[in-house]
């Protein structure tokens, strides 16, 4: 399983043809207490860079962009009842949605864990 990161502070786990998407620990730390997550509908086609979800903290409402192009296959229903999962387990249980990967070459420009850490350190 390969994990990728975007400069919008999302992570993507690629497992076969399916990608799981969430926001990073750094992102949740910046947002503060998450109170609501608006997830995409299953079956929705999203384009790389397009809006896919909205995450609301006590401070702000932020868009979560699709890191790649594809179709949403599943949304994390656990976030509806417990949005704070994004704070407590951002890169595991607090995942946002799973999607297909229309074009694997879109993953090429993304960062790995080491590159993302360097990216955050420089912020």
């Amino acid at each position: 399983m390969a994990r990728y990161f975007t400069d919008e502070h999302e992570w993507i786990d690629l497992e076969g043809d399916l990608a799981t998407v969430g926001i990073t620990d750094y992102a949740q730390g910046q947002l503060g207490d998450i109170v609501f997550v608006e997830l995409p509908e299953v079956g929705k086609m999203v384009e790389k860079g397009g809006e896919a979800a909205v995450v609301e903290s006590v401070k702000a409402a932020s868009d979560v962009y699709a890191p790649i192009t594809g179709e949403v296959m599943e949304a994390n229903a656990a976030l509806e009842d417990d949005p704070a999962l994004v704070n407590t387990s951002p890169e595991e249980d607090g995942w946002f949605f799973r999607m297909t990967v229309a074009d694997k070459s879109e993953l090429d420009g993304l960062m790995d864990a080491k590159a993302y850490k360097a990216f955050c350190d420089a912020l």
Binding site: V35, F36, E38, V54, E56, S57, A60, A61, D63
Partner: protein
């Protein structure tokens, strides 16, 4: 932001930015003949304060004011008695906190009042959540339509023909800037609203159905059949109420299955006020839709010491945080009118509201009975609250003018509400309130007999 007047350089820079050559260019959408090209003829450039006062007083005597004549106008704005105590209480210092209560530590008076206002509106409408108010009933109606589109992700809107035409106009105007397609209609002159016809217009692409309750002709329908039909197709039912006093006598729209209930709150505490400012009421039956609501919401919480307090909540829906993705561009509420509404309703209490509603209805029944005895007049409605429609057998606009000349403000002609619709021209909507006296009713009956004979 500097609170200083703009310089000519500032103005030129702004005009250049938007591509206009002069300030007048910004008004090209106003028809030429409606624009002012110079001083108003006959209006002196200067006059003393005393002279202006004298002149204005003379002008005001030409008016026939609502309180100076038998008055039966309604159709969305009602002349109710507002007790003097309302005016006294709304001016108390506790309420003179910041207009925009972003700092709860200095605005508890305003916030608590808004919280209680929301509770009153929610109970009146039979809903779980109400917001801290909108500009007026018609804009609240549009906001409900926009909210339904967000929830259903559909954009076809069905307006009942018996929705106030001005509300329909506001919805159509706002929809020019969205993807929503508005299907409007006209009311049929029948004792009961055509619910089957309305239901037939709902399909799988409909985001919402908008009905007025009681409707523009004063008729009261059981909304539950429309609610069921809408829900069966995945659409929402929006109920619009222009006379909240009616809800002291009839079932609330939420109870009948409406998903979003909106309306005008002017009847309680606000007064006619030359047509504004008024008070938009907005509530949702099921709190699961709260994040799609427009406007401010005030919530109850506890402070660091565990004491009860009030704050604005769920602000991430709002424009000052969410910018262009906000649920609405409203970033305020009708604070003072909401306060007056809340104070008046608190003074009435539930029992008082029921009594007030009963008195309104009693006087409407007397009026309907009296008008039914006038040759040429027939009362249309199978039922009504404090407002009903009569047909006169001739152009109601002309009759209304003749009655006004006799010092009776008789009603709102449908020709005025629906200009150019021949089938409606002979009808008039007549409203009563607790301010209507039996002498007023007799004056209307007698004047109508004279004019129609």
């Amino acid at each position: 932001m500097r609170y200083l007047p703009l310089t000519d350089t500032d103005r030129s820079a702004m005009l250049a930015k938007v591509g206009a050559s002069s300030i007048d260019d910004l008004f090209v959408d106003v028809p030429e003949e409606a624009r002012l090209s110079g001083p108003i003829a006959g209006l002196p450039m200067h006059a003393s304060e005393m002279a202006v006062e004298k002149h204005m007083r003379a002008l005001s005597k030409k008016n026939l004011a609502a309180a100076d004549a038998p008055f039966f106008l309604g159709a969305g704005a009602y002349r109710h008695h507002v007790p003097a105590s309302v005016d006294h209480i709304i001016q108390r210092g506790e309420f003179l906190t910041a207009y925009t209560p972003y700092q709860p530590e200095i605005a508890q008076g305003t916030l608590q009042m808004l919280f209680e206002f929301q509770t009153q509106v929610a109970r009146l409408y039979g809903c779980e959540v109400a917001n801290a108010s909108m500009y007026d009933g018609s804009t609240a109606c549009w906001e409900a339509v926009a909210m339904a589109a967000r929830i259903t992700k559909r954009d076809r809107v069905v307006l009942s023909g018996a929705l106030h035409p001005h509300y329909a106009e506001v919805v159509k105007t706002m929809a020019k800037f969205t993807k929503d397609e508005i299907a409007d209609a006209q009311p049929s002159i029948q004792p009961e609203a055509d619910l089957e016809g309305l239901i037939a217009r709902i399909d799988e692409t409909t985001s919402c159905v908008v009905v007025q309750y009681p409707d523009i002709l004063g008729r009261i329908s059981d909304l539950s059949a429309i609610a069921e039909a809408a829900h069966a197709k995945g659409a929402l039912l929006i109920a619009v109420n222009t006379e909240p006093v009616a809800l002291g006598a009839i079932k609330s729209p939420g109870e009948l299955g409406a998903d979003i209930v909106v309306g005008e709150g002017q009847s309680i505490g606000v007064g006619l006020q030359f047509g504004g400012p008024y008070l938009g009421l907005f509530a949702v039956r099921d709190k699961k839709h709260v994040r799609q609501m427009p406007g401010r919401l005030c919530g109850e919480t506890v402070d660091a010491e565990g004491k009860r307090g009030f704050v604005l909540t769920l602000s991430t829906r709002e424009q000052h945080i969410r910018r262009e993705k906000a649920t609405s561009n409203i970033c305020t509420n009708s604070g003072l009118c909401a306060l007056a509404f809340s104070v008046h309703l608190s003074l009435l209490g539930e029992k008082g509201l029921r009594q007030l509603a009963a008195e309104n209805h009693r006087l409407a029944c007397l009026t309907a009975d009296r008008l039914a005895r006038v040759p040429g007049v027939s009362v249309l409605n199978a039922n009504f609250f404090n407002e009903f429609t009569v047909t006169l057998g001739q152009d109601a606009r002309v009759v209304v003018r003749k009655l006004a000349a006799r010092g009776v403000l008789a009603g709102v002609s449908l020709g005025r509400l629906f200009p150019g619709v021949e089938a409606l021209a002979n009808a008039m909507v007549v409203a009563t309130t607790e301010t209507t006296t039996e002498e007023d009713i007799e004056a209307l009956g007698a004047a109508l007999e004279e004019v129609l004979s």
